[in-house]
C-alpha cells in the first residue's frame, strides 16, 4: 500500500504543471482535453465506487466534466486543488441523483469528510484503471472483453481465435501483473 499512496501524492512539479494546464484551459478551452485525460479515471473511479450501475456512472461522469468545462473560468486554484474540485462536483452529482425526487440539499460537512476518507480507495481504483491501458495488448483485450463486455471465456476465445486455456492464462497474467504493479497488496 505504501507504494500506492506515495504514487498518489503529487510532487510540487506535477502540481505546478497541473496549475499551468488549468490556467491554459481557462484561457483556451480547447486545452481542456489534457485535463480530461489526466482526471478521467479519478472521476470515474470516484463515481463508480458509489454508483455500481455502469450507465448511471457514465451519465454522472459526463455531467461532471460538462459542468467543469462550463465553470472552469470561475475555478480558483487557491481555494482547492483541481482534482478535489472535480470530485466535489462529482459528489454533488451523485447526491443530486439520489435526491432528485426530494428537495435538493447542499453537501454537508459530514459528507465532505466522507469524501476525503474515500480518496485513498478512489486513487487506487483510478490507478488500476490506468494500468489496464498499459497492459500488453492481448492481456488488455482479454480484460476488457471479460470485465467490461462480460463475455464468457469461450466467447473471448472465439473472438481472439485462441483456445479457452490460452484466454484463462492471459486473464491470469493480466491480473498478476496488475496486482504486482499495484504494489503487491491491493486493498
Amino acid at each position: 500500500m505504501r507504494t500506492t499512496r506515495q504514487a498518489a501524492r503529487k510532487t510540487p512539479l506535477q502540481e505546478s504543471d497541473e496549475r499551468l494546464l488549468v490556467e491554459a484551459a481557462k484561457s483556451d478551452p480547447a486545452k481542456f482535453g489534457v485535463l480530461y485525460e489526466m482526471q478521467f479515471e479519478r472521476v470515474y473511479a470516484f463515481i463508480s465506487n458509489r454508483v455500481r450501475d455502469r450507465a448511471i456512472a457514465e451519465d454522472l461522469t459526463s455531467e461532471v466534466f460538462y459542468k467543469a468545462l462550463a465553470n472552469l473560468a470561475a475555478y480558483e486554484w487557491r481555494e482547492v486543488p483541481f482534482a478535489a474540485w472535480l470530485l466535489r462536483i462529482a459528489a454533488n452529482a451523485v447526491i443530486d441523483r439520489g435526491k432528485r425526487a426530494a428537495r435538493e440539499l447542499p453537501v454537508s460537512e459530514d459528507q465532505l469528510r466522507s469524501v476525503k476518507a474515500e480518496l485513498r480507495v478512489v486513487e487506487d481504483r483510478a490507478r488500476l484503471f490506468r494500468l489496464v491501458g498499459q497492459l500488453p495488448e492481448a492481456q488488455r483485450q482479454v480484460v476488457h472483453m471479460r470485465f467490461v463486455e462480460q463475455l464468457s471465456i469461450r466467447e473471448v476465445a472465439a473472438r481472439l481465435a485462441k483456445t479457452d486455456g490460452a484466454i484463462k492464462q492471459l486473464q491470469l497474467r493480466a491480473l498478476q501483473r496488475l496486482r504486482a504493479q499495484m504494489g503487491g497488496g491491493y486493498v
Binding site: 455502469r54 464468457s152 491491493y186
Partner: protein, 336 residues
C-alpha cells in the same frame, strides 16, 4: 485430489462474480487467489474505452463550438444550426478512409489551411475519427482497416484564390492534374490536383455563377459514375435529394450535375478519361436515420450496418449504393 491450476481457479471465481453466482468450492485454494480476486472485483467497474473516447469527443466538440464560454464561433452562423445535424457539419460530408491518416490530416492543414477540429486516436496511435474544417466545410477522415479499406475520393473545393491554394497543395506534396485555368466549362478559375493519398481535388474560385442564399459550400463531394443518370433518381428516392442543375449530352450522358441534400450539395458526372469511379464514403445527416435507411434499401442500396444508437450521440446506419459508394446515414441526437 490434486490442486487445480491457478488460472482455472481464478476463472471460476471471475465467472461467478460476473454472473452473480457462487464459485465452486475449492478444496485446495492457491495462496495467490484471494489477492487476484480483489483486483478482479475492482475490474468489474473498469470504464468502457468507447465511453472514455466518446466523452472526450463530446467535450472537444463543446470546446470547439465554444459552448464552455457561451460564445458562438465566428465561422459558424447560428442560422446554420439544424437539430438533426451534428454541430459543425452539414447534410453531406465526405469521409476519407485512408492509410497514413495522420499524414493526410497534416496535408489538409498544409495544403488547404485546414483546421483540426477533432482527432480521436486509437491505442495504437492510428486515427479512429478526425474532422478538419476547410472554409465553411468539413472533411472527416479515419485510418483504413480491414472493414473499411483505403478509399480515395474526389472533392470539389471552392476557395477565394484557386491559384494560391493550388500552389500550396503542390508544396504540400500534391501533383498537378490541371494547372489553374479560366478555360474550364464552368467558367470558374479552375485547377485540379492529386494528393499523395490518391484523392483528387478540384480547386475552384467561382466566376461564372452566383451562389444561392446559403452561399458556397467550400467542400463538395464529386462523384464520377458509370451511369450517372441513374444515380440522380436513386438519391431522390433514398435521400429526398433535389437536382439543382443537370447538364446532359445529346446522348443523355451526364456532363455535370449538382444535387442538393438538406443544406448541402454534391456534384457528379459520367466517368471519363482519368476521372473514373471510386468507392467513396459519404456521411449524410437526415432527420430520421431509420426511415432513410429503409428508403435507401428500397431504392436499391444494400445494408452494411443496421440503424444503431452510437455512444457519441448519433443514430447511425450504413448502406452501399448500387454504384459502390458507402453512405453513413446519421441523425444527431446528442449525448444524453
Amino acid at each position: 485430489m490434486s490442486k487445480r491450476s491457478l488460472a482455472n481457479q481464478l476463472d471460476d471465481v471471475v465467472q461467478a462474480m460476473l454472473t452473480l453466482l457462487q464459485p465452486r468450492p475449492e478444496e485446495k485454494r492457491h495462496s495467490d487467489l484471494a489477492a487476484l480476486v480483489r483486483v478482479a472485483q475492482v475490474l468489474r467497474e473498469l470504464p468502457r474505452e468507447e465511453f472514455r473516447a466518446a466523452l472526450k469527443t463530446e467535450l472537444h466538440r463543446r470546446t470547439a463550438m465554444n459552448k464552455g464560454t457561451g460564445q458562438a464561433p465566428a465561422s459558424e452562423a447560428p442560422s446554420d444550426a439544424v437539430p438533426y445535424i451534428r454541430p459543425g457539419l452539414t447534410s453531406v460530408t465526405p469521409y476519407v478512409v485512408t492509410y497514413r491518416a495522420a499524414e493526410f490530416l497534416q496535408f489538409l492543414k498544409d495544403a488547404f489551411g485546414g483546421v483540426e477540429r477533432l482527432s480521436v486516436p486509437a491505442q495504437d496511435g492510428s486515427i479512429v475519427h478526425a474532422e478538419v474544417q476547410i472554409g465553411n466545410g468539413t472533411i472527416e477522415l479515419a485510418d483504413a482497416n480491414q472493414q473499411f479499406p483505403s478509399s480515395p475520393t474526389d472533392i470539389h473545393l471552392y476557395v477565394d484564390d484557386a491559384d494560391a491554394t493550388f500552389a500550396h497543395a503542390l508544396e504540400a506534396g500534391a501533383t498537378s492534374i490541371f494547372s489553374p485555368t479560366d478555360e474550364h466549362p464552368s467558367g470558374d478559375r479552375w485547377g485540379a490536383i492529386k494528393d499523395p493519398f490518391g484523392n483528387n481535388w478540384y480547386i475552384a474560385t467561382p466566376r461564372g455563377w452566383t451562389p444561392g442564399p446559403e452561399g458556397i459550400r467550400s467542400v463538395q463531394p464529386y462523384l464520377h459514375l458509370r451511369g450517372a443518370d441513374k444515380m440522380i433518381p436513386f438519391m431522390e428516392a433514398a435521400f429526398g435529394a433535389e437536382p439543382l442543375g443537370v447538364h446532359k449530352s445529346p446522348e443523355g450522358r451526364v456532363l455535370h450535375a449538382t444535387v442538393r441534400i438538406g443544406n448541402a450539395t454534391l456534384e457528379m458526372d459520367e466517368a471519363h478519361g482519368e476521372f473514373q469511379p471510386k468507392s467513396c464514403h459519404l456521411h449524410v445527416y437526415v432527420p430520421d436515420a431509420d426511415t432513410i435507411y429503409e428508403r435507401a434499401l428500397h431504392a436499391g442500396a444494400t445494408s452494411i450496418e443496421i440503424p444503431q444508437t452510437k455512444p457519441y450521440g448519433d443514430r447511425s446506419a450504413g448502406v452501399k449504393d448500387p454504384f459502390g459508394n458507402t453512405w453513413f446515414i446519421a441523425t444527431y441526437i446528442g449525448v444524453k
